[in-house]
Symmetry: C2
Subunit: 716 residues, 2 copies
């Protein structure tokens, strides 16, 4: 969708413009005129002839000139008419500021559906409804009813909460600059994915950030996020996502009606899309400050310079916790640092001491910037008696200008360091207040750089999948009007996708048992088949570890034992099942349809590991082989898969492939709502992997959810 008319309009019609003080229509029109926007503004209001010295129009049709953008600020009930008129006039972008839509309940939701229909009919890029509008500082355009103007800069920010926009603007006006600042409202037409795609190639933007209470279409977000990071000039994407705890989700629903997904799903989504997840509003503003004013580092080695040992220790602790390495210094660097006083810290962190004047910072900065093993630098300045606020800031600003490495400054003070803050801000050096925050933001920067370095996404390729066979089964289930698959159907579908089950055969005579058992390679299990016997073992109806050669004899013994034990039971025969190999690891593989987002694939170790430790990993389909490997790598129980304590591990590459097969199944059959393979018995050799138990449920075409029937295929 073309967002040029929205964000770079040559002319704007304000439907609902007004001069009534304090009204949204008045504030917004004033804002349009206040900050130097050079396009034409056409107020539309049937009750006025002029507004703010401009000619006023009774309707948009009366404007003879072309209109790129219409902003609608009238009561919800009148919006549809105005929107249609805008469409008829060939306006290609509309902002609906007005509230009273999806967020208010059923009637509003119906109104919003109409908005969407009309926008589609006329191909309108529509922002809102129920939003604040947007700001584009570079062209002096404040198309919102928020006070003031953002600083121009390279951050594109869009937010589902208008109030959060206002708060963030006020909180960061000393430190951050924006290319765009957008309140997205109800996202009836334009949503996060449209803005991500737009800012990916918008040249004023270097960093993209957003606040969301619920996203849609994981696949598109993942593809877009990855593509943005692979561009010649990569643009980091940062998300603040709320509504992830249960209570948070409830609050979110009552707020804008967003159906917030589960925490695990969003974790997987952001990780897969290579989107940095800010954990709080503060962390978002810190990350933005650091990301918008620094290049990506070449590695994860941090150098720390401080005039307060204690704060150096706090920064070091946090850096290590966040996965950075305290850079080992080269001999050359150590020699340079010898020029510091003897009681200084000559290693990393470099402690220039409490009485450090600017030249000591200069010396340490210069030494670390020239050290190839130092990939980024955190400079800590505390206001000591002798600290030179101005000169120290100038020294750092100069170093920043002449270096290709990220430099972040912690100004651990307020009034005493105000001058430093002003100088550093002017020179586009990121400043934060606390040492831990500095280390954390730099760690995020290093992770993005790392993502970019290893950005390979190899698709799975399977030649042995019998898609047609599986389609026939699913068709049969649908024709039967069912959603839960029978045991044999699950078995057949998974077999079409390359999974193996324990081999089995039904027999009804000793002769047949003898014949069919000869087709089994190893020891077999035999179980009585009887509609009257529940506890087969107790009735003597199970034999384990039988040599196939003895199957006929054992068949008779089995029937004999059972008939002694349960005289009147009907005995229909026996089931011969391959014995599972010993020593396998129980794996759980799963697939779940995450409403609005897509198919979530899960892997973990079965049994207590999934039940007690919740040690599972998620990713959205379709998976690359790297995704599947990352999933396994995330498991706490990884050492058990790799082999530990003298126990052999399992074939992890085979497991990767099986995860890929589930992903393929998920994309081939979007109607699969839920799948559980639990356990998949895994061994040292991928050929030996066996599914013991699995179930599949299709989406409910009628809209009601049915209970999942459990299907059991086992040799127990």
């Amino acid at each position: 969708m073309n967002l040029q008319p929205l964000f770079s309009p040559r002319s704007i019609a304000v439907i609902g413009a007004s001069t009534r003080p304090g009204s949204v229509g008045s504030t917004l029109t004033e804002n349009l005129l206040a900050y130097g926007y050079t396009g034409r503004v056409y107020p539309v209001n049937p009750k006025a002839e002029t507004l703010f010295g401009l000619q006023c129009f009774a309707s948009i049709h009366e404007i003879k000139a072309e209109v790129d953008l219409a902003i609608i600020i009238i009561p919800a009930a009148l919006v549809l008419g105005a929107l249609r008129e805008a469409g008829e006039k060939n306006v290609k972008a509309v902002i609906i500021i007005s509230a009273g839509f999806k967020e208010t309940g059923e009637a509003g939701m119906a109104l919003e559906r109409e908005v969407i229909r009309i926008a589609r009919e006329f191909d309108i890029a529509l922002l809102g409804p129920n939003c604040l509008g947007f700001l584009r500082p570079k062209i002096g355009l404040n198309a919102s009813f928020a006070k003031g103007m953002a600083n121009p800069g390279s951050i594109a920010f869009f937010s589902q909460s208008g109030a959060l926009c206002t708060a963030l603007l006020d909180l960061t006006h000393k430190t951050l600059g924006f290319s765009s600042f957008v309140s997205v409202g109800n996202k009836a037409v334009l949503s996060e994915i449209d803005f991500l795609e737009y800012y990916a190639s918008e040249q004023d933007t270097k960093v993209i950030a957003f606040y969301s209470e619920g996203l849609r279409d994981a696949k598109s977000i993942i593809e877009t996020g990855r593509a943005i990071l692979l561009r010649a000039e990569p643009k980091p994407v940062i998300a603040l996502k709320s509504g992830t705890t249960e209570a948070g989700t409830a609050a979110s629903s009552s707020h804008t009606g967003a159906l917030a997904g589960s925490e695990k799903a969003y974790q997987a989504l952001f990780r897969q899309a290579r989107i940095v997840r800010a954990t709080s509003l503060q962390s978002l503003s810190e990350i933005l400050s650091v990301f918008s004013q620094n290049p990506l580092p070449e590695g994860k080695n941090i150098g720390i310079i401080t005039n307060a040992g204690g704060l150096g220790v706090l920064a070091t602790d946090e850096a290590v916790r966040q996965g950075l390495t305290i850079a080992p210094l080269s001999e050359e660097t150590k020699r340079r640092l010898e020029a510091l006083p003897p009681s200084a810290g000559h290693n990393n962190p470099v402690d220039v001491l409490g009485d450090a004047l600017a030249p000591r910072y200069e010396l340490a900065l210069d030494a670390l910037l020239h050290d190839r093993q130092v990939h980024m630098i955190l400079v800590i300045v505390t206001p000591q008696a002798m600290t030179q606020a101005k000169e120290t800031a100038e020294v750092i600003a100069f170093a920043k200008k002449h270096s290709g490495k990220p430099i972040v400054v912690v100004l651990a003070g307020q009034d005493a360091l105000e001058e430093s803050l002003a100088i550093l801000a002017k020179n586009e050096v990121a400043t934060l207040t606390y040492p831990e925050a500095g280390a954390r933001a730099l760690a995020h920067l290093a992770h993005v750089a790392q993502w970019r370095r290893v950005a390979y996404y190899t698709p799975f390729s399977f030649k042995d999948i019998d898609l047609v066979g599986a389609q026939k089964i699913v068709q049969g289930v649908r024709q039967g009007g069912r959603t839960n698959l029978y045991e044999t159907e699950v078995w057949q579908i998974l077999t079409c996708y390359g999974f193996r089950f324990l081999k089995s055969a039904s027999v009804s005579s000793a002769k047949e048992a003898q014949d069919k058992a000869s087709l089994f390679d190893g020891p077999i299990a035999m179980k009585i088949v009887s509609p009257d016997i529940t506890h087969k073992s107790d009735a003597g109806g199970v034999a384990l570890g039988v040599n196939p050669k003895d199957a006929g004899k054992e068949y008779e013994a089995l029937l004999q034992r059972v008939s002694e034990h349960a005289k009147d039971a009907r005995l229909e025969g026996a089931l011969i099942v391959e014995m599972a190999q010993k020593g396998g690891r129980e794996i759980i593989l799963g697939l779940k349809h995450e409403v609005g987002l897509g198919k979530l694939i899960m892997v973990g170790l079965g049994g207590i590991f999934v039940e007690t430790f919740k040690d599972v990993a998620f990713r959205f389909a379709p998976l690359s082989t790297e995704d599947a490997r990352e999933m396994i790598g995330e498991l706490q129980a990884l050492p058990l898969l790799q082999g530990t304590r003298g126990q052999s591990g399992v074939d992890t590459e085979a497991l990767v492939a099986f995860i890929g097969r589930i992903s393929r199944l998920a994309t081939d059959f979007p109607e699969i709502e839920e799948l559980d393979i639990n356990p998949l018995l895994a061994f040292q050799n991928g050929q030996d992997f066996r599914v013991l138990d699995a179930r599949i449920r299709l989406s409910d075409q009628t809209g009601t959810k049915k209970k999942v029937t459990k299907v059991l295929v086992t040799a127990k």
Copy 2:
């Protein structure tokens, strides 16, 4: 130790006073005179007659009047003489500002040992060396060389880093007030525990906080921390501890030479001492703001009021993550909230909407304050177009004054909310900038309240412990010059402490086997004893599940089999061992001497749970029964102990008692450096618990560490 002369001196001698501009001696003397301190100040400097208009003395002996406190600012080499002179003059408190002691290496360490010796000789309460001094705003006393004066207030803060003091003062001067602000330096004499004890009963102090890079004596800290919280007016204690990661510890050592302990040990220590752990410098300042201006809440239900839905969601998410409950509102409260506009959020969080004027905040506050189910309130104010910064702050300040519940305000803005900040600060209402920080700080407050409510510490009491028996064994080991105990010694000591092993007996004939086996209740294992056979099973030398009645017969069969297998092997007899019950859980119990802190007790599930998941819990001895229960409660694998998946659990109260027995052993025998019981097999009935394998190492009297010998007692 009496700290009155230090913190409330009637007279102060400044040894090393000076007027040389910028010198520490000059700054410090100026500071003493600048803020209204009414006691006498005596400059001591042989080169001057008067200093700052005061008579100057050549030495402290020349001062005729009594001196309560001497501050020493002269070069390290001269400090010992000055300290001795102060002692001779009966000065009871001394601050050594001078650096050049422990932090500089061997020679400095020797100097510091002399300082300690002299201080002890004259019973001097000594602060430092290598410190900034301290501030006591209430009596206008700045006995430091830090710029400016802290605001008076109720927080006592002491810090191992002087520079961190300076930074924190500047960072919080708008929001925090202090009763004392102390730089503790090298802690040669006075250390954290002295200050904790002093401030526990010092009446100006309501909240105690400290920054430390390493603590000593866990037992005292735990006792003191708990006692402080149990006082009629409890004083929360907050710690910021750095140097907990490996790299952080290295930085810490090079900083002040503190030997920082491990992260796990400090986690246990703070938890046990009921000390709140701040995770960053920022979190420390936020907690201090909230704690010093609020009572403890009566429960963990939070009410949230916001004029920005998005920020309400962020606060809700964080509150839930931190263990708070979003308060369910009473019918009465809901009725009151109906007076808000229809589109407001009438539930918790209460969304008063972006256009809220002060009266809407007032209404919501009043409603929530009257609701008994709401235990604390977070008010979020964002600067929207219509927000009344002044009136809203006044409404909140009034509510705070007339309520017994904690109220914290998030002012999510800067310039636009400056007036709010000033009004709230003046009225002692805690303000923070970000919603998540508010929720986090309130959660800490609720945790302290919870600790106070459940502050029972029931000592373990065992009547069956054979202390004398164990002492004899340890004596024997010491006499043998060993540190590692033999298998039988470990066995005997643990038996003295109520642990049970698998019963066993050595036999050397079929007759003896038959006789001794009859003393065993259940099936037994029999193993050949031969110096020539390593792999007993392979040689046919092991029989499992033998009926005691068949022991004689089996003895002969065993010898027969082995002699066929290994013709020339010497066969000395057999070992009869009780068979371990099936289905037990492997528990690991441990004890480790944590240098400087004390005896750390550990519990966890054995095997993969400890090795792969590192799922263990720690506490310092001596343990209360509640401590031991907390340890078990912390384990991720707790459901496995309690029983899950149809498997029965273990007798957790018996496990609690066994943890208590280890604690008792640790306090009875401080010379035990390390103990491992791995595994202790645990069952549904505590009587059935059996130790399969254990080792004990004593502290090395000679100072060299020796390899731990593994001891194995098992029926495998």
